[in-house]
Subunit: 333 residues, 2 copies
């Protein structure tokens, strides 16, 4: 296993410590239990957003903490749900009196633990709503998940709902918006290679040198199918078609096109996929009005990519464009 780490036991704590040192003006690192908050948390009279999940998907979620996005993120061990006490402490730390929204990716452990944390917080008089993101069209059920998995739409929901919270929307409004983003977002991913979880020390799965996995999850969960390697154009078609058909996205729709690297796929390749996806959508009359391209929801060093489409309305577009100031996403400030 070739990794820039000191030990599997310490990698998450050391990594968030480094993140905190690099962005001390934006975020604050809390340990034992581990969570990351905005440096100015709690923000009085603003709905607070808390997310979290296993580590290994960086910059998600710690890189999305800051003004206009998340108030807190809870990093679990690599590919392992954070614990309810992390979520509970984070919820208390960022509660500004207007309630807290939990944005939860649909993995069984995450969902259960966020539910427990919400109960604990409510018992202390904090108003909590939770929205579960389940946008992955690849498979119905999967390892670790009942129903669809939560993937790329999570990033978009955190940005858009963070902007709504910043603009003063109520907890009910921000939660309804988050549901709406989830309802209009669809994703699918693929892998060229596996990745190595530090604790495991060996690849999560085996993938022969001439094969790829279509519909993979962000923890290497099996997808729809294994096939021989195909060209970037063909892979883009294979990912995009089920996404477009699922909502469905139709001619005249305005969409945000998010092309994501699983980690090991460089930008040189990612923009080939983006260019083809943009061309296919344009040909179908689906108008790409906003874009996000890069490694934002990753699987360690896995080579591969995912595509997410989000059907935009005017409100979502405006909230997407609103200022954001986090380690990983920043504009307008």
């Amino acid at each position: 296993m070739k990794k820039l780490i000191n030990s599997p036991e310490n990698v998450v704590l050391e990594s968030i410590t480094g993140l905190g040192a690099a962005f001390s003006e934006l975020i604050k690192i809390h340990t034992n239990p581990n969570y990351i908050t905005r440096a100015d948390a709690p923000v009085e009279n603003k709905v607070a957003l808390v997310s979290g999940g296993g580590s290994g998907h960086e910059p998600m979620h710690g890189g999305f903490v800051g003004r206009g996005m998340l108030d807190a993120a809870c990093p679990g061990a690599v590919f392992t749900s954070p614990t309810p006490d992390q979520m509970f402490e984070a919820t208390k730390a960022v509660n500004g009196g207007k309630g807290v929204l939990h944005i939860v990716k649909n993995y069984t452990g995450d969902v259960l633990n966020f539910e427990m944390a919400a109960d604990l917080a409510r018992a202390e008089g904090i108003e909590v709503e939770a929205v579960v993101i389940d946008d992955d069209v690849a498979v119905k059920d999967s390892l670790w998940t009942a129903g669809r998995r939560g993937v790329g739409t999570t990033v978009l929901a955190e940005k858009i709902c963070g902007a709504a919270a910043e603009a003063g929307h109520s907890l009910k409004e921000v939660a309804a918006l988050c549901q709406n983003v989830n309802k209009n977002g669809r994703s699918m991913g693929m892998a060229l290679t596996s990745c190595i979880v530090p604790h495991a020390g060996k690849p999560t799965f085996d993938l022969p040198e001439d094969e790829m996995e279509i519909g993979i999850g962000i923890h290497g969960e099996p997808g729809r199918t294994r096939t021989k390697l195909k060209s970037a154009d063909e892979i883009t078609e294979v990912l995009l078609q089920p996404i477009v058909e699922d909502l469905p996205y139709k001619s005249g729709d305005e969409v945000l096109l998010f092309v994501n690297s699983m980690g090991g796929t460089p930008l040189l390749e990612l923009f080939v996929v983006y260019g083809k996806a943009h061309e296919i959508l344009t040909r179908q009359g689906i108008k790409v009005t906003r874009s996000l391209v890069g490694p934002y929801i990753t699987s360690l060093e896995m080579a591969g990519a995912s595509i997410t489409l989000l059907k935009l309305d005017d409100e979502m577009t405006k909230l997407w464009d609103a200022p954001v100031l986090t380690p990983a996403l920043r504009w307008g400030v």
Copy 2:
């Protein structure tokens, strides 16, 4: 070879086409010869900055084109210098009447071709200055380079000099500033794995499963030494010490600490290195006042990292903080 490409021949053109589609409000793609300009080029009465080099180092340089940074970038084939006609056409396209600065990484092909392009441009009455970046402390001479190689400081020089040009500085001033940034910047990198150039179809070099290469270049050029794998803390020490001693950086200095992924190293690991580097510098009384962490000057999917230090003065700090609006770096706007 597992890559999201259609063919080695088309990958660069398809990739910059995708980049252009994703960021059409910021940049414009020109083909035959290939170069990327600001969407609003030429900007009248502003010094224009042109850089370029082999592809495979994304987001450098195409991702750094935009307001407050580069006016144009010339992407060569993967790990291959762009041609003089690319540089010449780019220079003409962005010349706003106040002269053009070529920022050149010190590789023999790049230096020669930029010199030829500068001569061609001068023959047409365009004032051109060139600054060669040679900040890599690893080796004196190397494959492809006489003298030190140009690496991480290039990114910082492009940002800082771009801000100076935007602020109305003259060509002589911007060139002198670029020299000054180069004089105060030092870098060193290491690799855990090789990478595969699409045309070659096989790894650039072999690195056994239990070894790493210290002092590697961004094209996989041999470095200082091959050793057994070490911990992230040890590797950080090994990279940072020669950098600090070379300038030398001293107690009381203010520095920008840039920790760069070679491509395949995920943020989870990169922030472990950043945290350790920050700790070492702080212990030595060297004050980290600005930071950059992420994959900015990469070697395709190579796993590894590089560290760059830049000694800051007040002017450089102010120019670093100035607004920038490019695909890969944006803040303040």
